[in-house]
């Protein structure tokens, strides 16, 4: 007969092991994804991948040069839309906002963050593709830009709030007006965090596929300017993964490896720059 005390100790140990197993399962998924992509993508990845256009159907070789440039252009455009709104919105919430209106803005931002990415695609489609009557880099950039806003707002706000009040008071005591205190003292103090937050934001939308499917669409050639459909890394991965050709699957693995490396390197770098936790999910 086991004593009550021993039984409780055993339960404690068993639950420790079982919950630990849950955590181990979750973490092992990450290593599985990383290892499998390195194995599959590493075999295919070569210099051609970065410099050549996709090969025609049936031919092997070729690369994703146009998709890489397309992704870069889309992210630039998205940042031009998402960063100003996100940054200034964040400044408002941290420095000027009252209670009611700031709460409404913050709550709406959180809701906007939860809108499915595919719905953002429809939004950009209705707003830009329909009136212009064709797919374009511009429409894709707008879709991604709107997706960037919520995290840009919340991370800017958080880093501004982390600046000690004594800095603000010091600047005001020296006779600075409020906006000068914010622009020359508070924002510079929080700059490192804000820029890191925006980096993470860009990394997040870099992997978004759904909003691009019917805004930027796809293109087998390079896309000059901003007014034509363009290829992008995530859309190419999708297209190549569901195609029935072996060679295309290999290319998809290589592209997946490039995209994942980009995202993970940004996230790890952000961690080292900030040495604080839980930014990705705060948004």
């Amino acid at each position: 007969m086991i004593s009550r005390r021993t039984r409780r100790k055993i339960t404690n140990f068993v639950m420790f092991a079982m919950t630990g197993l849950c955590a181990a399962v979750a973490v092992s998924v990450l290593f599985f994804i990383l290892g499998y992509l390195l194995w599959q993508g590493g075999r295919t990845l070569n210099w051609q991948f970065f410099t050549q256009l996709p090969a025609p159907v049936g031919e092997t070789g070729g690369g994703f040069a146009n998709a890489i440039i397309g992704s870069a252009k889309l992210l630039l455009l998205a940042s031009l839309i998402g960063v100003p709104i996100g940054f200034l919105g964040g400044v408002y919430l941290a420095e000027f906002g009252g209670t009611t209106w700031a709460f409404i803005v913050r709550y709406t931002t959180d809701l906007l963050n939860g809108v499915p990415s595919i719905v953002m695609g429809i939004f950009a489609y209705a707003l830009i593709v329909l009136p212009m009557k064709h797919f374009s880099t511009f429409a894709g950039g707008v879709a991604l830009g709107v997706m960037m806003i919520p995290i840009a707002v919340r991370s800017t706000e958080e880093f501004l709030r982390a600046v000690p009040n004594s800095l603000r008071e010091g600047a005001l005591a020296l006779g600075a007006t409020k906006w000068r205190a914010i622009a020359t003292v508070v924002i510079p103090a929080a700059m490192r965090g804000i820029i890191t937050g925006i980096m993470l934001d860009v990394a997040r939308v870099a992997g978004e596929t759904a909003p691009l499917l019917f805004t930027a669409f796809n293109n087998r050639f390079s896309s000059p300017g901003w007014n034509q459909p363009t290829s992008s890394l995530p859309v190419m991965i999708f297209t190549y993964a569901i195609a029935p050709y072996e060679d295309w699957h290999r290319q998809a693995w290589a592209a997946g490896l490039v995209l994942l490396s980009l995202v993970l390197v940004t996230n790890i770098a952000a961690r080292f720059i900030l040495r604080r936790q839980s930014l990705v999910l705060r948004g």
Binding site: N12, I33, Y36, V146, A206, G207, L260
Partner: protein
Amino acid sequence: MTTASPTIDRPVSPQHKFVQRLLRGDQIAHLITLIFASAIILVTALLFFELFRSSALTRQKFGFSFLMTTTWDPVALEFGALPFIYGTLVTSALALIIGVPLGLGAAVFLAELAPPRVSDGLAFLIELLAAVPSVIYGLLAIFTLIPLLRDYIAPVLRSTLGFLPFFQGPSYGVGLLAAGTVLAIMILPFIISISREVLLAVPREQREASLALGATRWETASHVVVPYAKAGIIGSIFLALARALGETMAVTMVIGNDPKINASLFAPGYSIAAVIANEFSEATSDIYISALIELGLVLFCITIAVNAIARLLILATTRKSTAHS
């Protein structure tokens, strides 16, 4: 020696005072940031308005029967959304059934049982998992999970639980079960990270009191800390649910894309997000596009409602904790 500056000589009117304050810049800065902050609300409103306006055609033609009928035939211009709503709900439910126990277990381990350094390291890895793009989950699922389900897991489920209608019929790998499993993995990091944060926000005194009474660490976690943080944990589950409902790429790649309602989880299905992703750029007629946009509107409304509840629950818990500590 300077003579008195003209501004002092001038009588000070209220308007003048306002202009002076404006020129000093504070009001301008306030106004500019306010405009940008309000732009966020405007964008969200515009989002709803555009979806509502662009789906007018099918809303008028089909009304509520759009949500109730099962025929999706773009050629005959007949549109019923029920198979997609079914697929979305079933895969999300499956994701929660698999993901919630795993996620909560891991969160309790990280917040309550593991040593702090281990906990911090693991929590960072789990945040990296949240950053993996969904198209990469889809890519891996196509080539690893689907053969695994088809060749090993489905036969085992059929022979053990085959008397249930959920586990009958042939399995091709792709289908509701595959989509639900991928979704479960994808929502794990959200459940873990947010639940962990909510658990860590529980005041220390609560734990100390329980431990001082002689409870083991597990008893403290399960009887004291988790009940205290209940609302926040439910919030994290709702947040994960919203992610699962709206997740597009990974689901599109593994669900099988067949607009039928099947009880069996082995059978292929279709979700709202997946049909939009697959058919939108091929939709030719105005009414076809309108039907797809109305599906988007349905998805938007569901996820906004689920998110709204989740945020309120999380807010309530963290407020309660900060008020205590």
